[in-house]
Amino acid sequence: MDRTWNNKAWFMVLPVLLLVAFSAVIPLMTVVNYSVQDTFGNNVFFWAGSEWFEEILHSDRFWEAMGRNLVFSAVILVIEIPLGIFIALNMPKKGWGVPVCLVLMALPLLIPWNVVGTIWQVFGRVDIGLLGYSLRSLGFDYNYVNDPFDAWVTVIVMDVWHWTSLVVLLCYAGLVSIPDAYYQAAKIDGASRWAIFRYIQLPKMNRVLLIAVLLRFMDSFMIYTEPFVVTGGGPGNTTTFLSIDLVKLAIGEFNLGEAAAMSIVYFLIIMLLSWVFYTVMTAYDAER
């Protein structure tokens, strides 16, 4: 749509600008403040320059948490995106099944995140949880509290449980927008199931898939509550992701300078990724 040039439109954006400035810019300035200062207590601060940044960029702890988080995000994407597409392709197209599927599938998305954690913490317990108890009865040596591998599996399965529906709903929305004529044409041509998927459904889902990948990447990159409730970052540090580490540093150890420097590095990474996403999206929209 061609839009007219009108700088007075700023007045309409002003409320949003003020509100978001209040809740984003001011807190960020506090973080910047802490990241370049040091203190010996008593609220006396002095200039520390880039010390905190150097410390954080040279700390193994930060890079390990980053590595764990990247592996986690990668695993999540590899499982959730194909699974989400597969389920969306097999969703009912009309009739009473549609609202039932949509409502039941959207349910995990609306459960408070720490309740998701609690549900899985209970579900996976070997003494009272269905999953843990069943696995034990089947002879698996499953224990997410002590075993790093089991903890990882639990956290990943939990995330799949929690978020695959988002991918399903996005893909489903993309699929229902394909006109019937396309399928009829394919049928007459005798196209195989794979050809229909590859040449009709996948191109139509491009945009929503891009969004699904990005949202899942971002949200798994800043995941905090669910693994924190289930494993508390343990056993040891094996499920300590970036956000968990950051909160530990800031609130647990009250190491404000380092936490602030870490926040900024963390936020810059997110910002860079958002920018790439935004550019790709706008380029894609312009193409069409």
């Binding site: 839009r3 007219t4 009108n6 439109a9 700023w10 954006v13 409320p15 949003v16 509100l19 978001v20 809740s23 001011i26 807190p27 009912p92 099944g97 609202p99 599938m105 349910l107 609306l110 459960i111 408070p112 995140w113 720490n114 609690t118 899985w120 209970v122 579900f123 003494d127 949880g129 269905l130 695959t164 529906s165 988002l166 993309g174 396309y182 009829q184 044409a185 394919a186 007459i188 005798g190 195989s192 199931r193 191109p203 945009r207 929503v208 969004i211 990159f221 905090y224 509550t225 956000s243 950051l246 909160v247 800031a250 609130i251 404000l256 963390y266 936020f267 997110i270 910002m271 958002s274």
Partner: protein, 306 residues
Amino acid sequence: MARLEETTADGRTMMRQTPATAEAQTANATLARKMRRRGEESRLWWLVPTIYIIFLMLPIYWLVNMSFKTNQEILGAFSLWPRNPTIANYMVIFTDPSWYKGYINSIIYVVMNTVISVAVALPAAYAFSRYRFLGDKHLFFWLLTNRMAPPAVFALPFFQLYSAFGLIDTHIAVALAHCLFNVPLAVWILEGFMSGVPKEIDETAYIDGYSFPRFFLRIFMPLIASGVGVACFFCFMFSWVELLIARTLTTTAAKPIAAIMTRTVSASGLDWGVLAAAGVLTILPGALVIWFVRNYIAKGFALGRV
């Protein structure tokens, strides 16, 4: 895509050339049936969503199951359904103010946040969808980055900011803090819906002598009503599920139910039954909201703006 266009065109020409005799029609039907068997999905397609939904429901079923058991039964014997169903766990929650107040607190700040977010987002989304102005693209991108901001980064600064204003432990503090990610989201969703309304409608209304506020409320709002519904739904959802910030900003008076739950787990010797009952009760509002907006969910997602 080029290949697809060809096939569509071929399909149409073929249809047109088919003579309308009964024989040809039967032949066509047989052909179509054969094609369907080869190309379309198998008859077992329903298994996939069914298995997936069972996978989704299992942990929830277990939670519901536990909520109807006594603590002794939960810890004592492993059973797939409660032997002696009891609603004692739910009674604990409904009679103890420290429990049920949590629900009221959560709902208060979630509703406040939804109203604030959508109210400020409406004019902004209109501006983004109708006008170009200095720095519009940068502003839009900057808003977007806030949707992607990790709450962990903001927890501590928020605490200090709201302490400075004396707003700690109030509902409005949490509602304002959640605006950080909900306002950009609402702007994004509403902008999508508004861009779908042709600009000619605005121009005609102005020529007819409508003032901007009257036009906006009388003509424009009804046109984007479903968009407002979708935006409200997502604001509600993200404010309802967020806990890190909500917990940081509250101590007692505005404490959300989800935070009360975690505190009880760690402190009072693990009363699993009550914990499960509280969990079940946090799922219900979400389920209710989804049921009301079920027909709009797919549409909201179709815009790809969540």
